[in-house]
Amino acid sequence: MSGESPASQLFQEELQELLAELDAALLDLPVDGAAPEPVHRVFRALHSIKGACDMFGLARAVAELHQMESAWDGVRLGLCAVTPELKDLTFLLKDRLGPLAETGRDMEQDQDFTLAVRRLAPQGDGPRWIPPAPDGRGETRVYAVAFAPSDPDHFRTQRPESLLEELRQLGTAEVDCDISRVPSLQNLNPADCHLRWDVRLTTDQGLDAVRDVFLFLDHPGDVQVRDLGLPAGDEAPVRPRASDQAPDQAPPRAPGEDPEWPPAPEGASLPTRQPIPFAASPAAPQAQAASGHAGPAPADTGQPLAAPSKAPPPPTKPAQPSQSLRVDAAKLDNLVNLVGELVIAQARLSRVAQAQGAPELTSVSEEIERLVGELRDNTLGIRMLPIGTTFSRFRRLVRDLSAELGKEIDLVAEGGETELDKTVIEQLGDPLVHLLRNAIDHGVEPPEERLALGKPARGAITLSARQAGGAVYIRIRDDGRGLDTRRILAKAVERCILPADASPSDQEIFQLVFAPGFSTAEKVTSVSGRGVGMDVVKRSIKSLRGSVEIDSAPGRGATVTITLPLTLAIIDGLQVRAQDEHYIIPLTLVEECVELRAGATGQTGRAIHLRGEIVPFVRLRETFRLPGAPPALEQIVVTRHEHGRTGIAVDEVVGQQQAVIKNLGRYLGNVEGISGATIKGDGAIALILDVARLVQGVERDTASRWE
């Protein structure tokens, strides 16, 4: 995309976001498809995509989107239902638009697709559905538009006068504003809108065009459009305002019509004058409850924008204007690197100030330390993204894969707002895909098997995330058949991974599934069975300095828990010294520090007794072949890692330190036992230990020596 214009790049990025929104909106549709808000979301997404494509002259995409939009408009108006066919076709259209977001080139026309969408046009006894004419024009008709914004802080996000201006551009508009509900200045929240408008619009642009003016209202029910017929008839004028009439002349209220609608914005006092009868908005029940008014359900006096639903949706939070800024990820990475350098420079300054002992210098140094700390936290915060951005793409995966395998599975996502470093999120996608595919293919049973076991036919996979301390826990839980420990054990013995008489614990058996090429599947399918996935999962998570654990109960499903650090850029570490070298041990691994006197281990050599438990330890001096003899009093840092509990014997525990992680560079590459390096305050380098691999290496060396 480097050769493309900024506008084109922006369009493609925006299109990708809109397609993701369309995907999410489609997946949010309930099974019966009756809820109005998800339908509105789909419609809005289609409309926005159409608008974006239109701006870039992608005529074929616009034509197909328009057809699809019309079909969903029928759903929106309650003229037809959300059918599986409509959803599938919309997904198909979304997929066909995908390449467009990559290349910016218009899509190929698919006649079959167009015909299939056209067949979904609303039919039956409902209001007449007229496909829009190519130029959008039709016969001149009169429409009554009643517009009463009810969302709190309406003026912060909307400008009603702009909507009125748009209406005027459609034809001849007679606008009447009702100011009777405006409270006195004492009770006014200037952001709330208490004005109401009645517009009599004569236009040849059609009902859709009139409705489209109000497409982006937070409360779609705040506007009502009625077709009054041809201008010559004029039998159905704009409803007279109640205030213009004596109470006994007020138009008869339809059964169930709510006189308190639309609700005044929260916190405003309602005037006692009779308001205009109006159709229901989603916020109406709430307002009724608040006012103690227990009138009957609002009637449908016109053509509501929302399709009827069984239960009113919860009131939605008014959308706040977007304050986000799109920044190139490389610039962000560069900023983080610079902040890392600044942290190191600040540490040097602190050290110099401490050495010189000058009060003024110390004061400045402390101030800079505070500011750098804030800058570091804020900069790292910029890189944090909600993990829900990754979750959303899995919903489509579960939908498609379960359909392919003839299973019925719901994906439940929890904790999508949990934030993780951008780099972690980017690398997390593939492992999660593997785990989900496994859960769908091996975990959740087919419907008939589930029914026979007394389970509901629909299986569930729960994908959840939560943060605790400096780590994020991601859990994939299914309610399927669980891991078969006997089969795994048999397979391990068959492949000589374990001796035939081995009796490992369940946890040890579960860990076997991470072995390269290990699979208990009878046959290899297009989804899984080759035994590659879990190995890849383990490696990927490990490269993110994370860990994976499995828990399972037969017949009740399996749970895979991934533990990840919040960020890959800076870690909390424990600085230790061996001879003249300094090392950093990630603080998350450290359990405690104990002293080791020379000769205390006696003949046992490499283990200490710690409260009744034998804990092996490795001596950094020996591991890294440092010269000199160990001091009489060593320190052992007891760590807990994926292979168990191991002590690290060092000369001195210097203290806790935040370490800006630097990789070792391609010349040094992958050094066993070292995961990176950091620069200390005095400018010296400290190596960051990869404890698990360090211990593994020592074990391997020891074993080879014994052999």
């Binding site: 100011i179 405006v182 006195s184 200045l185 006014l188 952001a191 809108c193 517009v199």
Partner: protein, 147 residues
């Protein structure tokens, strides 16, 4: 002109910092009297410049200032900058101010609503609703428009 919703102490002197209200002994003939007889306002009439009607955020502090000014005895002049027309939020603010003044028995007049831009905005928003306003003459319904 200050756009921060502040109340300036001197007319046409944007260098003055935010302050309270000043006294305007001379009233322009284009200004429109509302609710209370004009002689109630002289000689202690105050002027509040409502240049912060560009958005709700600016109207919040302005609302407090106007309410404070309404608590003072005497009349009140509200000077509006309608050179670029009027938004619905601003029209609502004016209406609410008018209602508050009437409730407190204060005289208030709005200056600046007689510009062509203001007329165009009011017409666009359908604010031809003077008969609807119980506190006629409505400030959003300029006198010269009454047929």
């Amino acid at each position: 002109m200050p756009k921060d919703g502040s109340i300036s102490p001197q007319r046409n002197d944007p260098r003055q910092g935010p302050c309270c209200v000043d006294t305007l002994p001379d009233l322009a003939p284009a200004a429109q009297d509302v609710a209370v007889p004009p002689d109630d306002r002289a000689p202690g009439a105050r002027t509040v410049r409502m240049h912060g009607l560009d958005g709700p955020d600016q109207m919040v502090p302005l609302r407090l200032s106007v309410l404070a000014a309404l608590q003072q005895p005497g009349g009140l002049d509200l000077e509006l900058d309608c050179g670029e027309g009027l938004e619905a939020a601003a029209a609502q603010f004016i209406c609410a101010t008018h209602k508050a003044a009437a409730a407190l028995g204060r005289s208030v007049r709005f200056r600046g609503l007689d510009t062509p831009q203001a007329h165009a905005s009011l017409a666009l928003m359908g604010l031809r609703a003077a008969p609807d306003c119980a506190l006629a003459p409505c400030p959003l319904w300029p006198q010269e428009n009454i047929p």
